[in-house]
Symmetry: C2
Subunit: 797 residues, 2 copies
């Protein structure tokens, strides 16, 4: 199997959900699940996939309460292409014998090829070869090319090519009781003998979605006419083609689809655009080279080449492939954020959490224009974030833990424990650290690009607004002469509050407090580096006072971090007093204990009572900040953090983490890279296999885990190479695991493209010939300035 | 009268159209006419003004043919606030005696203040003071603050505060026979005791527009309750407030409105947003300081200070003010172009022509992010421009002469001569030079900003696509060994074709051919300067061949320019053979001969027969290109163009131009700046007064002339100062008219802010302290490199 292919052979119904998720095709605008078996849309409801940025509000009855939230909207299913012999059943694995089955995803050019052979009840064998793509050269097109061969009979073939807007968000079993119908049918009609069109509208946000599909038939590469009937019903339209097939003969059905929404730029009205577009396009094989070229260019920008690691390479390629399907260059003109599961599946209903913290650092170094657009998504939602802060009694900007279209808090207030069947109050919106993820990304983007315009118009306002928020959230404790933050949750969602407490929330979460101190430094720094007139403008607009910045300065030195008696950093104040869990007992009793929260609640207990974590919490700061920077933050705070103490802290929490999130192994692997390369590599391997092996046993079919995917790529890119853009210098400090002989990649830093070639002995950096001005590259205390076409080799030993 | 105020005193009904146009308020998103007298919405139809980027298609019956075009959509009228005493008529100049009237536009902070005193039929006098603004701190809000004083009576006052979506596009008399109803009513209701909401939808493009208005009453600065009734009908909702006024007492009515459309970013659904927004805002006097501050920042970036020229200064300030109302920073997130009349009036129905050529150069040097967005508007319409070229039998990219939402050609194919009453075929879509305007702007933006990302992703594709178009439009003539272009029109719309010809179109329009040669140079240059990987990517995407670029190289040297026998540049081939017009006779008979085309057609004659121009055509090349650059283009073409020959060409066409466009005087004044400073200043003065004096006698009330407004500012900024960003150097070469003692302004060049201080003896350039790297500034052969905080003075004598 090549590094550029994902191949599945043999029909495995139980595997199909995962396969389809991993074979999803998309282009940052439209995503569509891959390799669905032919099915009768009347019988089997095929889940659609998302249209970027098209959200809708759902009213749901949850545990007797009415809950509203906004979710990404499924695109109408344009894939629907079914066929049958004579009046037999529509052929699919459910209705026919599957003689052969293969699905092959070509990562290098975003093409999915499927081969199948079906034998129907009367022994007639039909062979199918199908190619499909979602155009990467532009956002709006997709193509499906199907060749059917009547292997051992002559007779009538019926092919049904549909656009189906009756899709629901019912791909996740536990959501099926909730309302899931987003789309109101508006029009379903034939446009001409070859073309059908469908228009639907989201039922609350009133975004129109229009599709036009042209279906043509070819015999020996020549277009042939076909008898056609049109089938329409509300939200559904199909062309029914009646063909004759001679034994051994092949007929090809080409389906091309254009999709537009009312939120697109450069259009008059989406249905008119979809029609026009389909009228102007050539054939499948005219579009494919443009699409392939677009992928070629993307890979030139985004590839990471490993030496002699074919399997890791293949999975990294898959991860980059999926990352680009959610966040390609087509998002630049869209107002979209980064949903936790990409555009691939319905888990979390398309909500935006903090996953961008694992995703933007990769994009910053490859396609900074995409990062910029994703950060602008946050900036555009500042009004909501300001109102949210104000409503909670704070100043500044408070981003929501979960959100959809307009940036309101969309976190559930109740959740279901499927183990106990109970609906439980949910305080996870108290994760104020979401602000810190946004701040971290703003700063990383700035350091990587030096984009003054972004910082001036958007970035500074975000950073300063969030600094203001934490300044109002923190309280001063006279006894300790420290600033404290109470009433929050860390990333470890197992701890919502103190044992038996009436109110949720924790005191002095280490991650939140460390990063708050860091944020205060950055807020002060941004006021230093921001050129005029941006600086005066942002100061004026925010009405920022000296008193405020003085307080930020003090907070950067006096945030409180709590330590256990033995010097280990406490995840939060009081953590040390919690009970130890009998891990062995739980493993023995339950096997898989990733979701200890559900197990404990079902037992009438609570994770609040124990020293345990869902995922990295105290350790997250060490994931975001380099060892050097973390040391500086602690030192500035007046705390000593020795390397030995840091190491013990890592071991302490690693022993108490159930890894209930795919992100957990990634973060632990990252932190271990400088402490224990062998264990780091093991964690990396596990994180790497999260989706391809569906390690959580069922969540991948609900949508891939975009944060973990991007994070593993970034682990190779930034962690093992020690890349750290800081103060106008691109620092690197490679330390590859033994299992990784070497790696090469290009990256974009401050407007120039650099080529890096790293192994265990040396790291070579070359500045591409183009682009203005020199660039500074450094390792530890050695900093060199490289002009265009120059290179330098750092000796690592 | 200050340089920052436009004041009108005394009620002059005939002047009101112009006054309202000039007092229009806007913020790049929403514009709304200023200082409308109170009127009863039932009786008098008050024209709304535009919402940026919201277009709709109109089907119109024109001279027996069905014509479709897309037009900007009027915003529902949120201004409507009417009042009466007891059951009397709603007070307005139409129903009451106007005792006093004053309207004052404060340019420095975008505030319009109106004073009026009305006496009704029973002698009761009501005094009104009204302040209004359209928020510049954000796109969505507007405010109206009205204080009414019962001067000589006590009694009941009724105030009606409405949102009126029944507006039509009927502000231009000659369009009134065409369908003008764009908006379908969806909802009109009271939200709460203070708030009403209106939702409408454009009837073809289906864009929802929602408004929510909160109306409060204050007595001696304290909020007071009022008896309220709600009046609704389709597309209209009002709060009717019943108040009691004691003699001499003042009551204040505060109305705040939020507007959202379905095309906004960061929203769920526009009505929900409008409601939320109104719920979160404070009072008029809370919003005003934010708005004022935003204007303060805009003026800091955009002001041009003249020494001792108060009246010119005032008009320039007015022009900058209006420019910023159509193209403020709020367009950055919108997909909008530059309509000829801004967002101010209904002439041309909001269509986009070539006016950006007069507008972007100013913005490039002040708010390049706005220019970028406006150029992206063109780039997003590349698919339409490609299809248009293909449909006309050409390769590459052909932008439309007039366009609306999706970039289709929207030029009328018939137009009405009001003088003859005849509908005539219209070939003005043959103005292929629209491409050259886009190309010029792309190049100017690039030279000014050095924005590689823009050039790589968008600019190069535009330039190369347009070069490809002109290469396919041109034909090679063996006899002359020259490339020719036939079948086009120049900017002089009086010449559609040759006398008596069956087909419209002209051969070898000098402007088109000169600028085509220039474009070929730029297309080749962009391939030189574009860094990798942009260069390879764009070459791949376009499939550009060596054969093509070779042809461009040849065309840059062999485009044909036709000269009269005496060496004057022919506007087009054959111009010399046309008849001379008896200008004196026409002036004697008609007085105003600006629209000679209409006069001649009404006489059964045609402007095609004569040596006359509506506006600068051959001379446009000298407007766009500096004398140096123009000489280079001619020299490369193998033509000699002496200074004397250029001067004679200028005089020749100036003697034959009727100035039927406000742009004509601007262009002529610009060209004369280096030839005859006195006449240049005269033309400048006339161009300057185009709108403030409504020199075309009626067109200003149909909307201000944005090109002429921006052009006059740019004439001071770039022409008299000789600013020319070229090859990474900011060249200047000031030559001020005698009437202009000196000028000072800041400009942004390649990421740095420079301060310029210019008079007749010297020009001082100072680089602001902030911003990275040095900048090159030059005059003629003297080039200096200035670091942050450094300055240099060029001696001009």
């Amino acid at each position: 199997m090549s590094e550029w292919e994902i191949v599945y052979r043999g029909w495995e119904p139980r595997e199909q959900g995962v396969r389809e998720a991993l074979c999803t095709l998309g282009n940052g605008y439209l995503a569509t699940r891959g390799a669905a078996p032919e099915c009768d849309a009347d019988d089997v409801h095929y889940p659609g996939t998302y249209l970027a940025g098209v959200y809708n509000r759902l009213g749901s009855e949850v545990a007797g309460r009415w809950v509203e939230n906004e979710s990404l909207v499924n695109a109408p299913n344009w894939l629907s292409l079914t066929f049958r012999v004579d009046d037999g059943p529509w052929l699919s694995p459910a209705t026919a014998e599957v003689l052969d089955w293969e699905q092959k995803l070509d990562l290098s050019r975003g093409l999915l090829v499927r081969l199948a052979r079906y034998r129907d009840g009367q022994g007639r064998v039909v062979r199918l070869v199908q190619r499909r793509f979602v155009d990467m050269a532009g956002p709006h097109l997709a193509g499906l090319d199907t060749t059917l061969t009547a292997e051992n009979f002559s007779g009538r073939l019926e092919v049904r090519s549909a656009l189906d807007g009756t899709v629901t968000n019912s791909g996740v079993a536990r959501y099926r009781a909730l309302p899931s119908r987003h789309l109101t049918p508006l029009r379903a009609a034939e446009l001409d003998g070859e073309t059908i069109e469908l228009m639907v509208e989201t039922n609350q946000s009133h975004v129109r979605i229009a599709m036009a599909a042209r279906t043509r038939v070819f015999l020996r590469d020549q277009p042939v006419p076909a008898v056609r009937h049109v089938v329409t019903r509300d939200g559904y339209v199909a062309h029914l083609l009646v063909l004759h097939a001679d034994e051994g003969e092949s007929v090809t059905i080409e389906k091309l689809v254009a999709t537009y929404t009312g939120r697109d730029t450069g259009i008059s009205e989406p249905a008119a655009e979809a029609r026009d577009r389909v009228r102007h396009i050539g054939g499948f094989d005219d579009l494919l080279p443009r699409h392939t070229l677009a992928w070629h260019h993307l890979w030139e920008r985004c590839r990471v080449d490993l030496v002699d690691s074919e399997e890791v390479q293949r999975i990294l390629n898959l991860h980059i492939f999926h990352l680009l399907q959610t966040t390609s260059q087509h998002v630049v003109d869209l107002d979209v954020g980064v949903p936790a599961r990409g555009l691939h599946g319905e888990a979390y209903r398309g909500h935006v959490f903090w996953d961008e913290i694992f995703i933007l650092p990769f994009l910053n170094l490859r396609m900074p224009e995409v990062s910029r657009s994703l950060l602008r998504y946050r900036h555009r939602r500042l009004p909501q974030a300001r109102w949210a802060a104000k409503a909670a009694g704070y100043d500044g900007v408070m981003f929501p833990w979960q959100s959809g279209s307009d940036g309101r808090e969309e976190t559930q207030t109740l959740h279901l424990n499927p183990k106990s069947g109970r609906w439980l109050p949910d305080a996870s919106h108290l994760q104020r650290h979401i602000n810190l993820a946004v701040a971290y990304n703003v700063w990383q983007y700035w350091e990587t690009t030096g984009d003054e315009q972004f910082l001036g118009f958007y970035g500074a306002e975000l950073l300063l607004g969030m600094a203001r928020f934490f300044a109002s959230l923190a309280t001063y404790d006279r006894t300790s002469d420290r600033y404290e933050i109470a009433g929050v949750m860390g990333p470890d969602e197992y701890h919502e509050g103190y044992p038996g407490a009436e109110q949720p929330g924790l005191r002095n979460n280490a991650y939140t407090n460390v990063m708050t101190a860091w944020l205060m430094c950055r807020a002060l720094e941004v006021l230093d580096v921001l050129p005029e007139p941006y600086r005066s403008e942002v100061l004026d607009r925010m009405g920022l006072t000296r008193e405020e910045t003085d307080r930020w300065e003090v907070m950067s030195r006096r945030m409180k971090i709590v330590f256990h008696d033995d010097g280990i950093i406490s995840q939060f104040e009081g953590y040390e007093d919690l009970a130890e869990l009998d891990w062995e007992d739980y493993v023995a009793r339950y096997g898989d204990i990733q979701r200890l929260d559900r197990i404990l609640e079902a037992e009438g207990d609570s994770p609040d009572n124990y020293k345990l974590s869902k995922q990295a919490d105290a350790l997250m700061a060490a994931f975001l900040l380099s060892p050097r920077e973390l040391t500086l933050v602690f030192r500035r705070l007046g705390y000593e953090l020795t390397a030995e103490q840091a190491r013990r802290t890592v071991e302490y929490y690693m022993a108490r983490t159930s890894h209930g999130s795919t992100l957990s192994k990634l973060v632990h692997g990252w932190i271990l890279a400088r402490i224990d390369r062998r264990r780091s590599w093991q964690f990396f391997q596990e994180a790497l296999r999260s989706d391809i092996d569906d390690v959580q046993g069922g969540t991948t079919s609900e949508g891939i885990h975009l944060g973990a995917m991007a994070g593993t790529v970034d682990m190779v890119q930034r962690c093992y190479s020690g890349i750290d853009p800081r103060g106008g210098v691109l620092f690197l400090d490679p330390d590859l695991p033994d299992e990784l002989r070497g790696l090469q990649f290009d990256l974009r830093y401050r407007g120039r493209w650099l080529h890096l070639d790293i192994d265990h002995e040396r790291a070579r950096v070359e500045v591409r010939r183009d682009g203005a001005g020199p660039v500074k590259v450094g390792r530890r205390n050695q900093i060199v300035e490289l002009g265009a076409g120059e290179s330098f080799t750092f000796e690592l030993s």
